[in-house]
């Protein structure tokens, strides 16, 4: 995948065990920020797009864009075309504010565009 080349995905945000345990320590804890500050992509899509764990990707929703590191999801957990983020500050920033008369913005199953930002050096 070339830089700035966008591909349409569907984003799901949700709970994870680590998000739940680390928020009890603090929402400013390293563990919570790590867990909620990463996007999971299915291994096949990672390979197809030439992404490796830790690469920064740009996720653009109708509302705004964020840059966030990616990791491969656990084998078979995500089908191709689906992304996952643990609930938190970053996943919420991608939500729109239109609730369609319900009070609840679309928070799961939203269209987003993914593009590669740059590879970062891993420790």
């Amino acid at each position: 995948m070339n830089k700035n080349q966008e591909e349409l995905f569907i984003l799901i945000s949700g709970r994870s065990t680590r998000q739940g345990t680390s928020m009890n320590e603090s929402k400013f804890s390293k563990e919570y920020l790590e867990e909620t500050g990463v996007i999971q992509i299915c291994p096949e899509d990672m390979t197809r797009l030439g992404l490796t764990a830790g690469d920064l990707v740009c996720i653009r929703s109708e509302q705004r864009s964020i840059e966030i590191p990616c990791v491969a999801a656990k084998e078979k957990e995500l089908p191709s075309g689906l992304l996952f983020m643990a609930y938190g500050d970053w996943s919420s920033r991608l939500m729109g504010s239109d609730t369609h008369g319900t009070g609840m913005p679309n928070s799961k199953g939203t269209d987003v565009y993914l593009s590669k930002v740059c590879a970062i050096k891993k420790d």
Binding site: S26, F28, Y87, T99, G101, T102, G103, M104, G109
Partner: protein
């Protein structure tokens, strides 16, 4: 006192909607060192609890006394033209009750975290009806348990072991062996390996699949072509329908995979209608998997006092319910609210960008046990004691069963209820003064 060792039996965990009330806490001074029976989330809830060292109150970032902060908070609420009150899912029913009274006095919109959780489910209950049962009934009777758009292995870890799939019950004496467990989700989550049947549907196809199931239950003919792009086959759906009709006691637990996905209340209405239809053949129920410890209590308390569960406006002196109009994301994103009170919630950390930006631009009061993005930006912030760990009271389990709290030790901080009672008193004082001045 610091090193006194004690054991608290049947303590209640208020982290998630399971509200497990069989926790045995070992307490040394003001630290919990063991939480027997708690799940991984419950252990993190209890063992990470800190007694706290920060100031009890701050006004625009500067340390203040409780009295000064209550005075300023009351002034903000009384001076506002469109105050909103939001949160409430992580506090006691007693504190929630006082909050509704304050909302009534100042003519606020009162809304709970339900609106960004199972609020659409609340709307669906009004449209279809709630076909419900207690978790005790599930434990003792259910032989078919379906989870739809929910990942209990990570969100409600003890749900399966304590209530729904594993326990041996009166009519399911062999526990898990007497039950069929079905998981329907768009992801193969960590819950999938524990299910007998996993149906991986395509994202945003929940409504279509639920509606097809209704048709099959009613004996209508469905073609494979009708299921195109849903991710499931006719054979899979017919198999599920046969099991649903043949079971003695079935229950469909639905999560936010339905309420947060496009369609929202319509997705949940489809699930409720399916459960209703199945009662022509057997006993079948549909229950929401509620999240925060007392979010169900918030629905109950706001309903007792206003007639509606969330998104209620009291500005005209009587309650008006309208999700989308009086719900907090909307009143903030549309820049309507001119003051706010946030209780036990973190909208600055989990609302949309537009809602956060407006909240940051208006004076607001925050009550929380810990520092959050919301308390940091508050005009008036109170640090309060933690319900269940420091504060007694009542919470509601996800199936609307009230559970008492058995706190482990006292906190140096006041409870939400204590702050709110002082605030209500001050609000009344200021309103009376305002009335006298206008006369």
């Amino acid at each position: 006192m610091q090193n006194e060792l004690k054991v608290v039996s049947n303590a209640t965990c208020t982290f998630c909607g399971c509200v497990c009330d069989d926790i045995e806490l070992t307490v040394e001074g003001n630290h919990i060192t063991k939480a027997k029976n708690a799940c991984v989330l419950g252990k993190a809830w209890f063992l990470n609890h800190q007694a706290g060292e920060g100031p009890v109150a701050r006004i625009r970032g500067k340390e203040a006394t409780v009295e000064e902060a209550v005075e300023e908070a009351a002034r903000i609420l009384v001076d506002a033209k469109f105050p909103i009150i939001y949160g409430l899912s992580d506090t006691t029913c007693e504190a929630q009750r006082v909050t509704v009274a304050i909302a009534d006095w100042v003519g606020a919109s009162i809304d709970t975290t339900t609106s960004v959780c199972h609020g659409p489910s609340g709307m669906a209950f009004q449209g279809v009806g709630e076909i419900t049962c207690s978790l005790g009934e599930v434990r003792n009777r259910a032989d078919l348990v379906i989870f739809w758009g929910s990942n209990p292995a990570e969100s409600h870890p003890r749900h399966w072991g304590r209530y729904s799939t594993m326990p041996k019950g009166l009519f399911v004496p062999n526990g898990r062996k007497d039950r069929t467990v079905v998981l329907v989700d768009v992801r193969r989550t960590k819950s999938a390996p524990a299910a007998d049947i996993f149906l991986q549907i395509k994202p945003r196809k929940d409504f279509e699949v639920l509606w097809m199931l209704r048709a099959l239950v009613k004996g209508l003919t469905i073609n494979e072509a009708d299921l195109i792009d849903t991710g499931v086959t006719l054979e899979q759906l017919q198999n599920l329908v046969d099991r649903m009709k043949a079971c003695k006691f079935g229950v469909l637990f639905f999560g936010m995979g339905l309420s947060m996905t496009r369609g929202k209340h319509l997705n949940v209405e489809a699930a409720l209608a399916l459960a209703r239809d199945l009662n022509a053949f057997t006993r079948f129920y549909a229950n929401p998997m509620r999240g925060h410890g007392n979010v169900t209590g918030a629905d109950n308390v706001v309903s007792w006092q206003t007639g509606y569960p969330f998104g209620v406006n009291l500005g005209r002196g009587y309650p008006r319910f309208n999700p989308g109009e009086f719900t907090t994301t909307d009143t903030l994103a549309r820049k309507e609210a001119d003051a706010a009170m946030i209780i036990a919630s973190d909208p600055m950390g989990n609302f949309s960008q537009a809602a956060r930006e407006h909240l940051a631009s208006i004076p607001y009061i925050a009550l929380d046990t810990k520092e959050t993005s919301t308390t940091r930006a508050a005009a008036v912030a109170f640090t309060t004691a933690t319900y269940g760990i420091n504060v007694p009271g009542t919470v509601y389990r996800m199936d609307d069963v009230p559970i008492p709290l058995r706190p482990a030790f006292e906190s140096p901080y006041p409870s939400d209820e204590k702050i709110l009672r002082a605030l209500e008193k001050k609000v009344l004082h200021l309103l009376q003064a305002k009335l006298q001045a206008s006369n």
